[in-house]
C-alpha cells in the first residue's frame, strides 16, 4: 500500500472517528457504537504494523510524536483493551442518556492515551494526559455517581498539575520539552531529578491509584458505566505506569540518585515510592476483601496491583522492571476481562451487588470461565500471565532483601486469593436465586472480547516470552540490562522459571486426575437445593447462599482501621470552613465590617511596605 501509516495518521484518524461516532450515534445508536468497535481495531492493526518503524518521529500540526519501544508496548495494551471492551458499547447504547457523547468521549480517551504514549515532548504528553482525564471525567457520571467523577477529577488534577509543575521546572532548568532529552539531562542534576521524580511520580501514582491517591479508583471504577470500568481499570490506569516508567527508568533514577543514601539496593527516594506501593498493596487488599460491590472489589484490587507495578518500576533492576511490565500487561488483560464479566452479569441481572447474586454459573457458564481465568491471573496463579509477573517481582524483592516490602507483597498476593474468590463464590457459584432463573447467557458479541482477553491471558501465561522479549527490547532501548531467556525458560536472579513446562506438567496432572475421575462410577446429578442441611427442609435458595459479609471474621479484625477518605474529607471540610469564614467575615453586607478590614489591611500594608 502506498499510504504510509504514521502515528499522526492514527491519532487524526481516531479524532475523526470520534466525531464520526458522535454524528452517527445521533443518527443511529448502534451504528455509532460500531464505530467505537472498528476504530480501535483499525488502530490496533495500524500500531501493530508500526512495529518495524520504531524510533521514527511524526509531527501533526504543532505536536511532535515519536514511536518508542515502550510507547509501542503501552499503546498495544491500551488498544487491545479498548478494542475488546468496545463490543460492549453496542449493548449499552440503549441504557445511556448521552450515547453520542459517550461514544465520542470513549474514542477521545483512546486518542488521549495513544497521544500520551507517543508524545515526543512533555507538552504533548500533558495535553493528551489531560485529554484522558477530561474525556473519562465526563463518561464516569453517566454511571451511578456524579460525586465519583468529582473525586476522580480532584485526584487526577492533583496528579497532572504536579506533573505540569515538574514539566515547567524541567523546562526552566534545561530549556527543552523533549522528553528523552530532558530526562537524560535531569539524570545528571540531582535536584532537578528529584523534582521530576516526585512531581511526575505523583502524577503516575495518582493515575495508578497508589496509596494515598487510591480513593478515586473504587469510586470511579465502581460507579462508571459498566462498559467503561474495564477501560479505566485495564487501560487508563496503566498510563500511570507509563509516567512512573519515564522517571524511574528512562530518566534513569538509579543514576540520578546514585549519590543519595542507598537503602536495600535502591536510593532512599525510590524506596519511599516503593513503600507507598507496599502500603497500597496492603490497603488495596484489605479494602477489596471488605467490598460487597463486585466492581468496587476489582477496583480495590487494581489498587493493590498498582502497588506491585510501582514497586517493580521503582526497583529499577532488569527483573523488577520486566516484572512490572509483565504485570501491567497481565493485569490490564485480567482486570479488563473481570470487569467485562461483571458487565455481562450486570447486563443480564441489572446489579453488581454480590449479596444479590449467586449461582450464575448455571446460567452464564462462559462468563464464569472468563472470570475464573481473569482471577487466576490476578491472584498470580500459574498458568496465567499474572503468575509470571509476580514471580519476577518476588525475585527482585528477595534479591534486594526488602523484608517489609516483601511482607506486604506476600500479604497482597495471598490476600488476593481471598478477594478474587469472593465474587467467584458469591456471584457465580452457590445457590441460584429464583429471581435469576430466567437469566440468559451473555450475548455472543459480548463473549468475543471476553474470550479474546482470556485466551491471551492463558497464551501469555504459557508463552510469556513473547511479551518478555519485547520487554527485554524496551529495557535495552532505555539503556538497561535486558531480561535473560533460555528457550522457554526465564532466567531469574536466584532461580529460573519455565512456564511452558509448568503447563505441561499441570496438563499431565490434570489428565491423570481426569482418568481417575472417568474410571469410577458416574455420579448422580442432583439439584442444587438438594444439599446437606442437617436434614432440615429449606426451600429458599437465598438462605442457603453464603455471600453476605463473606469474610466477616477477618473484616472484624481491621474494622477500626483508619479510613483514608476521612483525611481527604477533613481537608476539604477545612477548606470549606475557611471558605465559609471568609465569606462571612470579609464579604459581610454591613459596610462597617468591610471598612474595618480595609483599615486593618491598609495599616498592615503600610507597615509591611515600610519594613
Amino acid at each position: 500500500m502506498g499510504i504510509s501509516i504514521g502515528v499522526g495518521t492514527i491519532i487524526v484518524g481516531l479524532l475523526i472517528s470520534a466525531v464520526l461516532a458522535y454524528v452517527l450515534t445521533k443518527i443511529n445508536k448502534t451504528t455509532g457504537a460500531w464505530v467505537t468497535v472498528l476504530a480501535p481495531f483499525l488502530a490496533l492493526a495500524a500500531v501493530f504494523l508500526l512495529r518495524d518503524s520504531i524510533g521514527t518521529t511524526y509531527s501533526l500540526f504543532f505536536l511532535e510524536f515519536e514511536l518508542t519501544e515502550y510507547g509501542w508496548f503501552f499503546s498495544m495494551i491500551m488498544l487491545l483493551v479498548f478494542a475488546c471492551v468496545s463490543f460492549f458499547n453496542v449493548y449499552w447504547m440503549k441504557k445511556m442518556v448521552h450515547p453520542a457523547a459517550y461514544n465520542m468521549l470513549y474514542l477521545l480517551a483512546l486518542t488521549g492515551t495513544l497521544g500520551a504514549f507517543m508524545a515526543k515532548d512533555f507538552i504533548g504528553l500533558f495535553i493528551f494526559w489531560e485529554m484522558i482525564v477530561w474525556s473519562s471525567m465526563f463518561i464516569i457520571p453517566f454511571g451511578k455517581s456524579r460525586k465519583a467523577s468529582v473525586v476522580y477529577y480532584a485526584f487526577s488534577a492533583l496528579g497532572s498539575l504536579a506533573m505540569l509543575y515538574g514539566i515547567f521546572y524541567l523546562y526552566n532548568a534545561f530549556g527543552s520539552f523533549n522528553i528523552q532529552e530532558v530526562l537524560k539531562l535531569a539524570a545528571t542534576d540531582t535536584t532537578a531529578a528529584l523534582v521530576a521524580f516526585i512531581t511526575i511520580g505523583i502524577a503516575g501514582m495518582v493515575k495508578l491509584g497508589v496509596f494515598p491517591f487510591h480513593l478515586w479508583l473504587p469510586r470511579a471504577h465502581g460507579n462508571a458505566p459498566d462498559t467503561f470500568s474495564p477501560i479505566l481499570s485495564g487501560g487508563l490506569v496503566k498510563a500511570g505506569g507509563f509516567a512512573v516508567f519515564l522517571i524511574a527508568v528512562v530518566m534513569p533514577s538509579y543514576e540520578a540518585f546514585a549519590t543519595q543514601l542507598q537503602f536495600m539496593g535502591v536510593s532512599i527516594t525510590s524506596y519511599i515510592f516503593i513503600l507507598f506501593g507496599a502500603v497500597s498493596i496492603v490497603v488495596g487488599t484489605l479494602m477489596a476483601i471488605k467490598q460487597d460491590d463486585f466492581k468496587k472489589l476489582i477496583a480495590y484490587s487494581s489498587v493493590a496491583n498498582a502497588g506491585y507495578i510501582i514497586i517493580g518500576l521503582a526497583m529499577t533492576d532488569a527483573l523488577s522492571v520486566g516484572g512490572a511490565f509483565m504485570h501491567i500487561f497481565a493485569h490490564a488483560l485480567a482486570s479488563a476481562a473481570a470487569f467485562l464479566a461483571v458487565a455481562a452479569v450486570s447486563h443480564r441481572t441489572g446489579t453488581t451487588k454480590m449479596s444479590e447474586l449467586g449461582g450464575l454459573i448455571h446460567r452464564m457458564p462462559l462468563t464464569y470461565l472468563v472470570y475464573l481465568i481473569a482471577i487466576i491471573s490476578m491472584a498470580g496463579i500459574p498458568p496465567m500471565a499474572g503468575f509470571i509477573s509476580k514471580w519476577m517481582l518476588f525475585q527482585s524483592m528477595i534479591d534486594n532483601g526488602m523484608v517489609f516490602v516483601a511482607t506486604a507483597a506476600f500479604f497482597g498476593s495471598i490476600g488476593s486469593f481471598l478477594y478474587v474468590f469472593r465474587p467467584l463464590s458469591a456471584v457465580f457459584l452457590g445457590q441460584l436465586s429464583p429471581k435469576h432463573y430466567k437469566v440468559k447467557k451473555a450475548p455472543v458479541l459480548m463473549m468475543i472480547p471476553m474470550i479474546i482477553l482470556s485466551g491471551l491471558t492463558v497464551l501469555f501465561g504459557i508463552f510469556p516470552n513473547i511479551v518478555l522479549r519485547i520487554v527485554s527490547r524496551i529495557q535495552t532501548s532505555v539503556g538497561m540490562e535486558g531480561l535473560q531467556f533460555d528457550g522457554t525458560k526465564i532466567i531469574g536472579s536466584n532461580g529460573s522459571l519455565d512456564p511452558t513446562l509448568i503447563v505441561v506438567i499441570f496438563g499431565i496432572g490434570f489428565m491423570i486426575a481426569l482418568v481417575i475421575f472417568l474410571l469410577h462410577p458416574k455420579s448422580r446429578k442432583v439439584e442444587l437445593m438438594d444439599t446437606y442441611t442437617a436434614s432440615e427442609f429449606i426451600y429458599t435458595p437465598e438462605l442457603l447462599h453464603y455471600s453476605h459479609s463473606f469474610y466477616a471474621p477477618f473484616e472484624r479484625l481491621y474494622k477500626n482501621a483508619p479510613d483514608t477518605s476521612k483525611w481527604y474529607k477533613a481537608i476539604l471540610k477545612k477548606v470549606s470552613e475557611i471558605g465559609g469564614f471568609v465569606s462571612y467575615a470579609f464579604f459581610s453586607s454591613k459596610p462597617r465590617i468591610v471598612v474595618f478590614w480595609i483599615v486593618i489591611a491598609m495599616v498592615a500594608l503600610l507597615w509591611g511596605g515600610s519594613v
Binding site: D530, Y532, S535, E536, F537, Y539, T540
Partner: protein
C-alpha cells in the same frame, strides 16, 4: 442378556467383589442420634471398644457416610429427617437400627407420634438388640454388617431402590407429607 452384557455384568461383579472388600473395612457412620441408644456409641468408639480398628469412624454429613445409625425411637417429625438424610447418602449405603423401638416402638409402642416399625419406611440391614444394646452388642452388630457386606448381603439400598413406590407409599401414609414446607417458620 447378550453375551457382551453378560461379560460386563460379570466384570462388574468382580469389581464389586474388590470394592466390597474396601467397603467392608471402611465404614463411615452418620449417627442419627434420636433415642437413648446413642449413649452407647461413645463407649463403642473410644478406647474400651475402639470402633476404628474395624475401619469405622464418624462422619459429618450423609454425603460422606456409608451407614446411617438410627439409635432408637423415631417420631413422625424425625422420620422425615431420617428419610431425607438416607436419600442424600451415596450408594451403596446401609442402615443399622438400634433397639426394639425401631422394630415395634419398644416402650413407646402406644405413643401416637412414634413410628412403630422402621422397616416399613426404610430398608434395615442390621438390627441391634437390647434396650439399650450393650457396647458389645453394638460392636457385634457392626461386625455382622461387615460380614454381610463381604457376603454381598447388605443390599438394603438396592431393595429400597427397587421397591421405592412401596416405601414411598408407606412413608406418605404415615407422614401425610414427606417433605413439609415448615413446621415452625419459613
Amino acid at each position: 442378556m447378550s453375551k457382551k452384557e453378560r461379560a460386563v455384568a460379570k466384570r462388574k461383579k468382580k469389581w464389586d467383589g474388590i470394592s466390597n472388600f474396601f467397603r467392608a473395612n471402611s465404614i463411615w457412620m452418620l449417627m442419627y442420634c434420636t433415642g437413648c441408644c446413642a449413649i452407647e456409641l461413645p463407649q463403642a468408639m473410644t478406647s474400651k471398644y475402639d470402633m476404628e480398628r474395624l475401619g469405622m469412624g464418624p462422619m459429618a454429613t450423609p454425603r460422606q457416610a456409608d451407614v446411617i445409625l438410627v439409635t432408637g425411637y423415631l417420631s413422625v417429625k424425625t422420620l422425615r429427617r431420617v428419610i431425607y438424610a438416607y436419600e442424600q447418602m451415596g450408594e451403596p449405603k446401609y442402615l443399622v437400627a438400634f433397639g426394639p423401638c425401631t422394630i415395634n416402638g419398644g416402650i413407646y409402642y402406644d405413643a401416637h407420634p412414634v413410628i412403630k416399625s422402621l422397616d416399613q419406611y426404610l430398608p434395615i440391614d442390621v438390627y441391634i438388640a437390647g434396650c439399650m444394646p450393650k457396647p458389645e452388642a453394638v460392636m457385634n452388630g457392626f461386625q455382622d454388617l461387615i460380614d454381610m457386606i463381604k457376603r454381598k448381603e447388605a443390599n438394603g439400598w438396592r431393595k429400597y431402590q427397587e421397591n421405592k413406590e412401596w416405601y414411598r407409599e408407606n412413608q406418605i401414609h404415615a407422614l401425610g407429607e414427606l417433605r413439609i414446607k415448615d413446621e415452625f417458620h419459613e
